[in-house]
Amino acid sequence: MIFFTSAGLLILLSLSIPVGIVLFLLAFGIDIFFSPFPLMRGLGQVVWSSSNSGTLIAIPFFVLLGEILVRSGIARRTYSALEAWVSWLPGGLIHANIATATLFSATSGSSVATAATVASVAMPQAEKLGYDPRLFSGAIAAGGTLGIMIPPSINLIVYGFLTETSIPQLFLAGLVPGLLLALLFMCVTVIICLIKPSLGGPGVNADWSRRLTSLIDLVPLLTLFGVIVGTIYAGWATPTEAAAVGVAMAFAIAAVHRSLSREMLLASLKGTVRTSAMIMLVVIGAYVLNFVLTAAGVSRALQMFLQNLGLGALATLMVIVLMYIILGFFIETLSLMVATIPIVVPIIVELGYDKVWFGILMIILVEMALITPPVGLNLYVVQGARRSGSFSDVIVGVIPYALAMLVMVGLLIIFPIIALYLPTHL
C-alpha cells in the first residue's frame, strides 16, 4: 500500500495533473483497491469539514494582506531605508535584498510574493551599480524563501491544520530559525565578498541623519509585524483575528501612501481568491487523502514498514531529509508539503520526534525546494524580474545560500532547541 501510494503519487504528478486532483485520485484509488468498506460515501462530509474552518480562513486573510502590501508601494521605501542601514557591509546592496526579504516575510505569508516584490524593487539598482548579477539575484531568490518560515506563515498554518499541531506554537518555533537563517545568508554574503570583492558593488554611504530619518519608513511594516505576532503570542487573538487586524492595517498603509483605488481593490481581491483557491484545492485533497490513509489502516502498515527496515530513529530521519531534498528538485513547496505530510508525519511521531520541531525542519527543506532547479518557483520569479541575462545566472547565484540552508538543517537536527526554546519557554 505504501508502494502503491508513493508510486501513484509520482506517476500522476509527472503526468502534470493538478496536484490537488492527484491527491483526490490517490484517495479514490486506495479506497477501491485497499479498503474493506467504501470510504467515499463520506467524501462530501470530509470536503465540507475540511473547508468549513475558522482557522483556515487565516490563509486568504494573510494572502489579502500581502496583495494589498505589494500594491501599496511600501516595498520601495522599505528597501531604501534598509539600504541605508546595511549596505556598508561587504556585499553592499545584497544585504538590503536579504533584509528587505526578511522584513517583508515577517508580514506576508508567502515566499513567492516576497521574492517578486523585492526583485521588482532591487533589480534595477543592481544593473545600474554594476553588481554581479548571479550573487545579487541569488540572494533575492533565497531571501524570499524566508516568507514561509518567519511568522505569519501560510505553510505553517497548513501544516498545523493537517497534523493537528498548535499554530501559535509553530509560529513561535519558526521565529528564531528564520532570523538565524537570514543572518546565515548575510554571513555567507560577507565571506564571499571578502574573498572576491568584485562580486559585490558599492553600497550607499548613508550618514546617521539619513539612517535615522529612514527609520520612519520601517515603522509601518515593523508595527504590522509586532501587532500580528504580538497579539497571537500574548494570547489576545487567534491567528485568524490577528490576520484580520493585519488586513485593516495594510489598508491603512495603502491609504497613507495614496495607492488605494477601486482597481487596486478589485485586483487584490481577485489575486487573493486565485491564490487561496489554488492552495485550498491542494489542502482539501490532502485532507481527503489523510482521511482515507487513516481509515484504510496505513499507520499500521507504516509501523510494520519501519520495523522491517530496522533503521534507528536518526537514520530514518536522514532518509526522510534526503527524500525531501531530492523531491524538492522536482516538486514545489506547498505541494511537496501536503503530499508528504499524511505519509511522513505519522512516521516522525512514531519515531518519537516533536511535531512542532519537525514542522520547522520541513519548512527549511521545502524552502530549498523553492530554489532548486529545474522546478524552483523563486528562481523563475527572480529571472522574470530581470531584463537580461541567462537563467543559469540565478541558479549559480543561489548555490551558496542553498548550502547555508543545508547547514541550518544540520543545526536544527543537532540542536532542536533552536526551534523549541520559544514554544517551551513562553
Binding site: L12, L13, S14, L15, S16, I17, P18, V19, G20, I21, F24, L25, F28, M40, R41, L43, G44, Q45, V47, W48, S51, N52, S53, G54, L56, I57, P60, F61, L64, V112, A237, T238, T240, E241, A244, V245, V247, A248, L266, S268, L269, K270, T272, V273, R274, T275, S276, A277, M278, M280, L281, V282, I284, F330, I331, E332, L334, S335, P374, V375
Partner: protein, 177 residues
C-alpha cells in the same frame, strides 16, 4: 466554443470578486467582534461564520483558479514536449480534473440532502440551519464541475481539429502564479 470559454473566464472573474468580497466581509465581522468584546461581551459565532465564508468562497473560487490556470501542476515532463505532446498532457490533466470535480460535486449532494431531511442545525449558539451555507457551498462545487466540463470540451474540440496552441491557451500551464 471560443466565445463560451471567454464568457466563462469573465464570469468566473466576477465570481472571484464576489468570493473576495465575502472574505472581506468576514474580515469586517472578525474586526467588529474584536472591538465589541473589548467593551462588552464576545458576540460568539464569529468563528462559525468565518468557517462558512471560507467553505463558500473556496468552492466558488476554485473555478476562477481553474480558468486562470492557477492550479499547480508539475510540468517537468510536459515542458520537454513539442506543442502536440504538451496538448496531450493538458488533455489528460483537464479530463482528470473534470472527472474528479464531478465525483466531488456528486458527493456534496448527500451532505445537503441530510441537512434538509433532518433539519440539521449547527451545534452552536447561532444554531445556523446547515442547509443555508451548505447549499451555497455545494453549488460552488457543481459550478466547478460545470466549468471543468466546458474547459474539457473546448480543449478536446481544439485538440481534434489540430489546434494545439489553442489547447495550451485554454488549459495549459499558467504564466502568472
Amino acid at each position: 466554443m471560443q466565445k463560451i470559454v471567454s464568457w466563462l473566464k469573465s464570469f468566473n472573474e466576477w465570481l472571484a470578486i464576489a468570493a473576495g468580497s465575502l472574505l472581506l466581509g468576514s474580515v469586517l465581522v472578525t474586526l467588529f467582534d474584536i472591538i465589541v468584546r473589548q467593551f462588552w461581551v464576545s458576540l460568539g459565532g464569529t468563528d462559525e461564520l468565518s468557517g462558512y465564508a471560507m467553505a463558500i468562497s473556496t468552492s466558488w473560487g476554485i473555478s476562477y483558479a481553474l480558468t486562470c490556470m492557477a492550479h499547480v501542476r508539475i510540468d517537468l515532463l510536459r515542458a520537454r514536449c513539442a506543442s502536440k505532446g504538451q496538448a496531450i498532457f493538458d488533455i489528460i490533466a483537464v479530463l482528470a480534473l473534470a472527472s474528479t470535480s464531478i465525483v466531488v460535486a456528486y458527493g456534496a449532494w448527500p451532505v445537503l440532502v441530510r441537512a434538509i431531511k433532518y433539519g440539521s442545525a449547527a451545534n452552536t449558539t447561532l444554531e445556523t440551519p446547515l442547509w443555508i451555507p451548505q447549499s451555497l457551498w455545494m453549488m460552488g462545487w457543481i459550478w466547478f464541475a460545470a466549468s471543468a466540463l466546458i474547459m474539457a470540451a473546448a480543449s478536446l474540440l481544439a485538440f481534434f481539429s489540430g489546434r494545439f496552441e489553442r489547447v495550451n491557451s485554454i488549459v495549459g500551464v499558467g504564466g502568472e502564479r
